[in-house]
Amino acid sequence: MSGIIGGVGSKSSLIKTDKHYRSVFADIFPNHNGVGIQTGTQNLWVNFASIQGAYGSYGRSLCHDPDGLMPIPPSGFSEAFYITVIGGTGSGSGIGQFKLLDSTNTYEAISPTYYADGYYAYGAQFAKTVKVGTFNGIALRDKLTANTSYCPLWYRNTGSTGYAGITRVILEQRIYL
């Protein structure tokens, strides 16, 4: 076969090894029937969502292989996880910032990242997409395999007045050839 995938006439030769092949998405917030979260408090971090890991005998994480929505890609493919935070700020000087930690709040896979500021509204669709790094060298999917594991998302308003809000968070698994 000498590297040809799909045989004569296919366009597989156009797919380079660093090409994004496909993505899988999952909403991980809102996690109840609220429309979002808002804070008028300055600087204090608020734990508002978690990426759930395994629990008990049957609970699986989104990344569980092979039962999850985002299993380990087949041989020859690689993956990266991204998080998109969507929200806004209001009353003049709200400034929104988020981060992703491990369950002990020791290691950051996403360090504090601004996603919105200024005068608009908490429900605005300003969005920030950030690649999930490692938790001190441990990948997200490996952080979710232990029983009762989870990775919390935090956010805060760094503005002295105003408020910051979030209406949606999306976890994305990007798969590469």
Binding site: N33, G34, G36, T39, G40, L44, F48, S91, Y119, W154
Partner: protein, 90 residues
């Protein structure tokens, strides 16, 4: 409803040292949580909380204040430019 609730809480309690620290979350429109620093830079639930009646009072007062002064809670005129195309003016 959240937008009104945010403005109502800000309007009534913005100068209150305890009640100006809040988070809105939960399934009910009146779910306001007063928070404080847990000593580690994270928000924790305060012993002081607003009753539903207090939230309703704040909303009623906000609606009256907003009717009297429609500019309350609105962007200053110079910041309103971000809503349109005026940033592109030469």
């Amino acid at each position: 409803m959240s937008e009104i609730l945010i403005n109502a809480i800000n309007h009534k309690y913005k100068d209150d040292p305890i009640r100006s620290q809040w988070i809105l979350r939960g399934p009910n429109w009146y779910d306001v949580e007063i928070v404080q620093d847990d000593g580690d830079g994270n928000a924790k639930r305060s012993a002081t909380q607003l009753s539903k009646a207090e939230v309703e009072t704040a909303v009623e007062e906000w609606l009256v204040a907003k009717a009297d002064d429609p500019t309350l809670g609105e962007p200053p005129s110079n910041e309103g430019e971000q809503f349109g195309q005026s940033n592109f003016k030469g």
